[in-house]
Subunit: 407 residues, 2 copies
């Protein structure tokens, strides 16, 4: 008997032009276009196995081994239904000999290789992996942009994780969402030396969820409309050009300005929404000073911070600057020993806390030194590729159709 | 021989619609109108004595007993020159018998009754007291609005301290600044039960000065222009109406929204400017929750926070709510014992830290409890009156023409 099963992994993406606000909350249609960098799945990924079987009684989903309820009409159900519809329409109806597996229920197991506690949004990579594994299971002859239309309905930013490299989510204008999808601006291979350092910041309190937060901004911020109409369209053009030109200085300026403006409209919300804390702000002060020194010496910007709906910093930089940046961060934010994975071999096994330091001319008073744990982890990664089809040996489902850890 | 001398005091004001951005940095002409509440001089004031004497060789100024350099063409020099010009034009030229004291040099001594460390901007009350004492010395037959034109050139927000009660600074449009002055929206007596609680917040690092910060915002924030053109004009009208109607709910909503928006455009600046810290944000969370409980019980807003270019909170509220608000703040921000001046006798001598508590239905998890000193002081005051002419016994200058503490 044939086993209808496929396993895929999908990457995390971090936006440079931020998505904040929906014009349609059910279809997840945004109020502005956005643009992100896909990060390397070698370091951060969601892996998902989907299996279709006539013996399955209903669609079921496990995240990191724990079963999640698939609510009727909810986001996960929508994605599964849409993928089954595509299977029927694009494969079974056109090629009557293909098995009618769109009629079977599916079991889906998904696993994130990064801890939830890291505060990295896993919904983007998670829904991209879900959609990718089902596309593979169903042998769908469709483009990543088409798949992005479906992933978008799981989690808006998930649509951008269907591509590697540099990805735009075009907001579109159709009321059915048919033109609101992701497109590749440039592939990973265009600018592989763009690296990223994620600073995982400890936080006392739970922040506002992005889903509810962005709608409060849409409803109450007088500044958001100006951002949508006047600011973002120009920034989308400008940063796309900066990427195509591999012009890091422009890329950095736009990325930082747009992170700031996203947090500005969050603050212009009633009641105001704060995602960055004093640690986040100190990291900004360090990057601003690091760039100032470079510019004062006749150079350009050497690093760009960006913050999503939480206190974590993501610092983009050309790979040759990352060692200096880690040394800078560690000087102000000493790390728990042995946690850092030096995947690019920058420090030759040395204890990270012994490596702290600043570049010449750096004003050390722009921030104070924090206690160990204020930045509770550093993850070094780089621009990465699109979702991957994995071999049968990578399956997360056992022969009994349940996640392997539960089998 | 006649002693030509006068002493005046002037109040602090705290804006509800914020001034942020100059269209002319020399004349101090703002990019938008603003509106403030004048605070009570019984609690917070600058006191200034000005003396004109033919024996004085040059204009001299002492702040809190320390001599300050009066730079030629600087802000203080401009104010003194303008006041002498008015003396000549309005008094001496019209009434030839009046003494020509505009030709004498002046000695000026000024004293703030609140510590500089409190982080309260003293330039507004300081320049208002300077101009008021000179106006008194020179017997100028001019209106407070005319004096506000001169105080404005010392420090923009000083123009609003020429009036008591509720004061608008009309931005004007003339390039010489002749229509950019303060006007009274309503006097102190209109709404005397509006009180204020100042929470003095401890801060690690020195913030960006408002003078340089606001010009960086003018130059780099894409959102500021929208605020100037579209948002502030409507808010000026709406909050003026709220004040005239003594409609605290509307007053509070607009005040908090405008504080948030000022900090939003500061954050939208390159590099971004942060004035609020984690303590400031926690006070916001407390006030938001305190209002939420009131609204959930069918009431309106009971308190309004506002933040200037620093981490201190000013909380406006009807006087009947102030005791509850102090109890709320003290529960999360315990105070150093004995510091609080209970000028309105709310606690009958009890230790403040024993009085902490929240209203019924309050979600205590919206903030964490901080260490003693995170909020390093509380000042309870209320809407106040316009600058006061003080008697000769209040002089700050000794018979030798030097400040009394130096005499």
């Amino acid at each position: 008997m044939t086993l209808y099963q496929a396993t895929a992994s999908a990457p995390v993406n971090i936006a440079c032009i931020k998505y904040w606000g929906k014009r349609d909350t059910k279809l997840i249609l945004p109020t502005n276009s956005s643009l992100s960098v896909t990060l390397d799945q070698d370091h951060l990924r969601s892996t998902t196995t989907s299996r279709a079987d006539p013996s399955f009684e209903r669609d079921r989903l496990w995240l990191n081994g724990k079963e999640e309820d698939i609510k009727a009409g909810g986001r996960t159900a929508t994605c599964i239904t849409e993928m089954k519809r595509l299977r029927k329409q694009e494969v079974e109806d056109k090629q009557p000999n293909e098995p009618k597996i769109s009629e079977y229920s599916v079991h889906i197991a998904s696993f994130n290789n990064f801890p939830t506690a890291a505060g990295l949004a896993s919904s983007a990579s998670g829904f991209a992996a879900l959609v990718s594994s089902l596309a593979q299971l169903y042998h769908l002859p469709v483009s990543p942009s088409t798949l992005s239309l479906i992933a978008r309905q799981g989690s808006g930013s998930a649509c951008r994780s269907l591509f590697g490299g540099f990805v735009a989510w075009e907001m579109g204008s159709a009321s059915d969402g048919s033109d609101s999808y992701a497109v590749e601006v440039a592939p990973q291979a265009h600018w592989p030396d763009l690296h990223a350092l994620i600073c995982v910041v400890s936080d006392d309190k739970k922040g506002t969820s992005s889903t509810s937060g962005m709608q409060r901004t849409v409803e109450t911020s007088p500044l958001l409309q100006h951002r949508i109409k006047e600011v973002v369209p120009k920034r989308m053009k400008d940063i796309s050009k900066a990427i195509l030109d591999k012009d890091f200085d422009s890329f950095a300026r736009i990325t930082m300005a747009d992170s700031n403006q996203f947090h500005a409209v969050a603050l212009d919300t009633e009641p105001p929404i704060f995602y960055m804390n004093d640690v986040s702000k100190s990291i900004i002060a360090l990057i601003v000073e690091y760039n100032r020194v470079s510019v004062a010496n006749g150079g350009g910007y050497k690093a760009a911070y960006t913050y999503d709906a939480g206190p974590n910093a993501v610092i983009y930089a050309p790979k040759e600057n990352i060692k200096e940046i880690i040394q800078l961060i560690v000087k102000y934010f000493p790390q728990h020993e042995g946690l850092f994975k030096d995947v690019f071999g920058l420090f030759g096994g040395a204890d990270l806390n012994s490596q702290g330091g600043v570049v010449e001319g750096f004003n050390e008073n722009v921030a104070k030194k924090f206690e160990v744990g204020a930045v509770k982890g550093l993850i070094h990664t780089r621009v990465g590729d699109s979702p991957r089809a994995l071999g049968a040996e990578e399956t997360l489902l056992g022969s009994n159709g349940l996640p392997k850890t539960l089998a």
